[in-house]
Symmetry: C2
Subunit: 92 residues, 2 copies
Amino acid sequence: MNEDKDVIFKALADPTRRLILDELSEKNELTLYELTARLVMKHNLSISRQAIAKHLAVLEDAGLVNSMRKGKYRVLLFNNKPLKNLLESWID
Amino acid sequence: MNEDKDVIFKALADPTRRLILDELSEKNELTLYELTARLVMKHNLSISRQAIAKHLAVLEDAGLVNSMRKGKYRVLLFNNKPLKNLLESWID
DNA sequence: TTGACATGCAACTAATTGGTTGCTTATACT
DNA sequence: AGTATAAGCAACCAATTAGTTGCATGTCAA
């Protein structure tokens, strides 16, 4: 309901989390390590793996990221469904 | 540029600010007092005028609300332009 | 011009949050 | 079995922030 919206908007409020969505929307099925490496290298981000893991927890909670265990790895999937019609009520 | 986006997303992250946008998108040219009264009454919000004023400053900073002085009053106007295409890069 | 009303500003507080460090668990590979 | 790699968990810290209270400014109307 409306709390879903709140969780989504709050998830989008952080620039690092938006970068994560950018990366995942460009290339799905990244692992946590791959994602961290990409963020650090492509965007000169200095941030730890644990910090990224926390951001991912927030994004998963909002339904914007799903993940599957694949052996040793956890693989990340972007899900844009919650974003559709999110701003609808304000745009005509 | 990208900082604009950040300011906009952060502005949208607060539920009270989203309620303010709801009210203003429904009825433009409210004054601060009218807006406060509406929020308190329609949504059972217990919040002071000053708190609303702070939220409005954030929304104005993001370009989502404009205001004009009209004599004794300040009149508030909703502006949805910054919201258009905000999520575009993630939705196909 | 004086009082009432609408708004503006500043200092303070409590809660939230993004980040770190350190340790543990789980899986793969030789 | 033993080591290296990927991830999970928990406690702590610093900065941000939503909210409050108190006071100042500006405008209208009698």
